[in-house]
């Protein structure tokens, strides 16, 4: 799995999933190849760590037609965004 620290979004690449972790530095992107078992496992492990830290996971698409809050890793997800939960201010 490749980690791109705060690189601008690229067009969707077929066969590639992206985990975007939002933090105070902007975001960190982790890219995995859906066809590589090792990379899928690494992505799953990252997903579980983030959930344990209390982050919320969203499986999203650019158009927003498949937005969903998820709690388990979906290897077929195009893009997963991790963010702290919203709170009233």
């Amino acid at each position: 799995m490749t980690t791109l620290v705060a690189e601008a979004n690229k067009e969707e690449i077929p066969g590639v999933g992206v985990i975007v972790v939002l933090d105070h530095s902007g975001d960190t992107k982790h890219i995995w190849d859906r066809n590589s078992e090792a990379e899928v496992e690494e992505a799953r492990s990252l997903f579980d760590r983030m959930i344990k830290r209390g982050m919320q996971a969203w499986s999203v698409t650019r158009k927003g037609d498949k937005d969903a809050r998820i709690t388990t890793f979906d290897p077929q997800a195009e893009k997963i965004i991790f963010s702290p939960a919203l709170q009233g201010g």
Binding site: A6, A8, N9, V20, L22, D23, H24, S25, G26, D27, R53, G54, M55, W58, V60, R62, K63, G64, D67, A68, R69, I81, S83, P84, A85, L86, Q87, G88, G89
Partner: protein, 217 residues
């Protein structure tokens, strides 16, 4: 009636103003008999300020004032080593501040890029032109996310486009390693995603700063 040959000594208590008449030949080395006991530091401060204003004609108060002003103030002279250390410390602080500032600017730019990746052309144009963009919620209500910080920056709109309620819901601080908030672009993105996905949940989470919410099922 004031008594001749006496200095008037006036002071305040919490309940009344008292005037004592001190003999003109009073020896100030003696313990004054008119000392009062105050119940708290605040009262002592109030008493001191009030008294010092009232009795400026009093010899004793004058002496205190003169002595206070004539006490020479001699600032401590720093050694060259101390000066060098202080300058080095200030330089370190400036460097930290600059670095943090640059990181924030970069983070804001990245967050904006990520946000724009999720906006359609119309939303992007609106954001760049007017500093806001519109989102349709999962139940069909319209929202305006204003690019003005991340608190109280979401408006729930009526059908005619006017504001029904001003809402505040923003991401918490990222857990763990930082005390800083997410950059604004990221916060707007999360507001948009939550509205698109489950606007009732967004409305339940948000605090209403102005206006009122519709009935939620």
């Amino acid at each position: 009636m004031p008594q001749t040959g006496y200095w008037p000594q006036q002071y305040y208590t919490t309940s009344a103003t008292t005037t004592n008449y001190i003999p003109a030949n009073y020896t100030w080395s003696q313990t004054p008999s008119y000392q009062t006991t105050v119940s708290s530091p605040d009262l002592a401060w109030l008493n001191w300020n009030t008294t010092s204003t009232i009795i400026t004609q009093n010899t004793y108060a004058n002496q205190v004032w003169i002595q206070w002003n004539q006490t020479p103030y001699t600032p401590r002279v720093l050694t060259p080593e101390e000066v060098a250390e202080m300058e080095a410390r200030e330089a370190r602080q400036r460097a930290i501040y600059e670095e943090r500032n640059q990181r924030r600017v970069a983070a804001r730019a990245r967050a904006r890029t990520l946000l724009e990746d999720f906006l359609d052309d119309e939303q992007k144009a609106e954001l760049n032109r007017h500093g806001r963009f519109y989102v349709t919620g999962s139940k069909g209500r319209r929202y305006c996310i204003r690019a003005e910080g991340q608190s109280g920056n979401v408006d729930l709109l009526k059908a005619d486009g006017t504001v029904q309620a001003r809402l505040c819901a923003h991401p918490r601080r990222p857990p763990g390693d930082t005390y800083e908030m997410l950059p604004e672009g990221d916060a707007w993105l999360m507001q948009m995603i939550e509205i698109r996905h489950d606007e009732d949940h967004f409305l339940r989470t948000a605090n209403v700063h102005r206006g009122s919410l519709p009935a939620l099922v």
